[in-house]
């Protein structure tokens, strides 16, 4: 991956200005929804690092989202921490959890890893409900969090403030992620995905890179979970069922495997499509998820981001061709 040229930088700047103007243009409820889109985008980037770039399949990333969300909620509710201080802690806890889960997962490839993470995703709600940690987690009831107020000098509403808070995290994590993925580590990750033996022969520490990727991926997803929990103001075991993991996987596939911008397309999809589909039937969102997953695998395995990339390349070629002749 190369750096950005001037046109791309200008495009990003325009997008950023638009993102800053957005919360003043739409209703508070929409701002809340878009805040969740941002949180999902972070989670999807995390899962994409693992699955798209490193080729390790995770069917249980909802578990890390849950751990991040619970860490933030417990720190705010039981320890009285301010909301902003909980985010890095949630990330750190998830990094450790992901790294530890990644260690045994090292021996597992493809299918087996999918199985192990599947089990993690299915078992997570039960673990959260267990009575030995009920004192902190609130058991089945979960924890209600107080929505943070905007600082007085900003004059923003709570939703708007939270939106900017999330946006700042998105900027930070995407810049870091982009640098990570186009650098030495990122190349090592892709090399392990495509040619594990060759990568090892070239001196890539496969075991370390794989478990670190697991850790970083969990860190991103955990931060997303914490941001999501603060935005929703509520955590409960059943909101982190196995289907959350499938939702995240769907988002990654639709956005585009091994693409950074894909995270946003995927996040918009998983936030808004269920709302629309819910009006047809309670089961409709899932039916649509399933059909879209299969359709994408058959026709657009690179997702929306890949489609945009191909379309742009075609356009550029056509334009370039016409100037030459």
């Amino acid at each position: 991956m190369r750096g950005l040229d001037r046109r791309q930088l200008a495009g990003l700047a325009v997008l950023l200005v638009l993102a800053c103007a957005l919360p003043f243009l739409v209703a508070n409820y929409r701002v809340f929804q878009i805040t969740l889109v941002l949180a999902y985008a972070i989670a999807l980037l995390g899962l994409n690092m693992l699955t798209g770039y490193n080729g390790q399949i995770s069917l249980g990333h909802g578990a890390f989202y849950a751990i991040g969300a619970y860490t933030a909620a417990i720190l705010m509710d039981k320890a009285g921490w301010p909301y902003w201080a909980t985010i890095p802690v949630a990330g750190a806890v998830c990094f450790v959890a992901g790294f530890l889960f990644g260690l045994p997962a090292l021996r597992l490839e493809g299918l087996y890893l999918a199985l192990a993470t599947f089990a993690l995703g299915v078992a997570m709600p039960q673990i959260l409900k267990h009575k030995s940690i009920e004192e902190w987690t609130g058991g089945v009831q979960g924890i209600v969090i107080v929505k943070p107020d905007a600082p007085a000098w900003t004059g923003l509403s709570q939703d708007q403030w939270l939106y900017f808070f999330c946006l700042a995290w998105v900027l930070l994590l995407f810049v870091l992620g982009w640098n990570l993925l186009r650098g030495r580590v990122g190349r090592a990750m892709v090399a392990i995905r495509d040619q594990p033996i060759a990568a090892q022969a070239m001196g890539v520490n496969t075991a370390m890179v794989k478990s670190l990727t697991f850790g970083v991926s969990a860190l991103y997803t955990g931060i997303a979970g914490a941001l999501g929990a603060i935005a929703v103001q509520f955590v409960a075991p059943d909101s982190f069922s196995f289907f959350l993991s499938i939702t995240l996987l769907t988002g990654v596939v639709i956005g585009g495997l091994a693409s950074i911008s894909g995270a946003f397309f995927g996040a918009v999809f998983i936030q808004f499509i269920p709302n629309i589909a819910d009006e047809i039937s309670k089961a409709a969102p899932w039916a649509i998820y399933g059909i879209v997953l299969i359709a994408f695998m058959y026709t657009m395995p690179t997702g929306v981001a890949g489609f945009v990339r191909i379309a742009r390349a075609r356009l550029a070629r056509r334009r370039g061709g016409s100037t030459v002749r």
Binding site: L111, A119, A123, I246, K282, G290, I291, L293, Y298
Partner: protein, 289 residues
């Protein structure tokens, strides 16, 4: 002691159901080296079919037979239509298609039959057989059916030309094609058989867990654990693994607490994969560099 004995026997009964699903998983794994994440939901869907037939007044064993046959046809159709196009794709694509099938079956069942829990009848009498105090007749009956299915499968694979052709196709597709076996159809048959076994397991488990779209979630997880424990490429091992997991689940559930039952499956899966990835009876694979 009496309680422990009871728990072990009850565990064997549920273990029989895990063993059937594990067997279905192993069938598909042997033929294609893939693990079907949608196996449980396919079984659940077949069970709803049986329920609908029963509601329409079909007698139990009639509904049973129709369901098994339709599950077989459904399994063949899925292999031919949905799995075939991604057969040679990277494993990620295939896993995603399986997950897609899982959510599609789950949501279609919810859509058609609603999410309310339905009771499902057992074909066996309510009072215990032979006056034994330990096992209900449903538990005994479902165990017997599991064993019959196993026996039939063994006979089919061991003594019929078609079974031999299926084994050959799974073991060495290229040579099998050269001697005139239609490998693609053998895979489809494998899927059909797996779906039929799953349907039987679904109908046997439904009276105990009640019928609802998510009923097979836990069962599938235990079946995974059982299949891995026994060795994912060994049918006999998978059955034994299923029984072991069933007993473990019941004993741990009684003495440690039933809230962590699914976590037990997670621990078994990770434990087996870390300590002995080939399982108790599986072949150790050596990768050629």
């Amino acid at each position: 002691m009496d309680q422990l004995l009871h728990q072990i026997l009850a565990g064997l009964a549920t273990g029989g159901i895990y063993a059937s699903v594990a067997l279905a998983l192993v069938m598909i794994y042997q033929a294609t080296h893939l693990v079907n994440f949608a196996q449980g939901e396919m079984a659940m869907f077949a069970t709803y079919l049986a329920w609908a037939l029963l509601q329409a007044g079909v007698p139990y064993w009639g509904a049973f037979a129709i369901t098994v046959v339709s599950a077989f046809v459904l399994g063949v159709a899925i292999e031919r239509i949905v799995i075939r196009p991604v057969e040679n794709s990277p494993i990620l694509a295939v896993v995603i298609v399986f997950i897609a099938l899982l959510v599609i079956f789950n949501s279609i069942a919810g859509w058609i039959f609603t999410y309310t829990i339905k009771p499902f009848p057992s074909p066996f009498p309510a009072e215990p057989l032979f006056g034994n105090p330990y096992l209900s007749s449903h538990e005994l009956g479902s165990m017997a059916i599991t064993l019959v299915v196993l026996l039939l499968l063994f006979v089919f694979f061991r003594f019929t030309p078609l079974g031999l052709a299926m084994r050959a196709a799974a073991q060495n597709p290229v040579s099998s094609r050269l001697v005139g076996i239609r490998v693609g159809w053998m895979l489809a048959l494998g899927w059909g058989l797996a779906a039929a076994i799953g349907a039987i397991a679904g109908m046997m488990v439904a009276p105990t867990v009640f019928l609802e779209p998510n009923m097979m979630g836990g069962v599938l997880l235990y079946a995974f654990a059982g299949a891995l424990l026994g060795g994912i490429d060994s049918p006999g091992g998978a059955v034994l693994g299923g029984f072991i997991v069933g007993v473990l689940e019941n004993v741990v559930g009684t003495y440690v607490g039933s809230e962590l039952k699914l976590t037990l499956a997670l621990v078994v899966i990770i434990g087996v994969l870390v300590v002995k990835p080939s399982g108790l009876f599986g072949k150790v694979h050596v990768v050629r560099v």
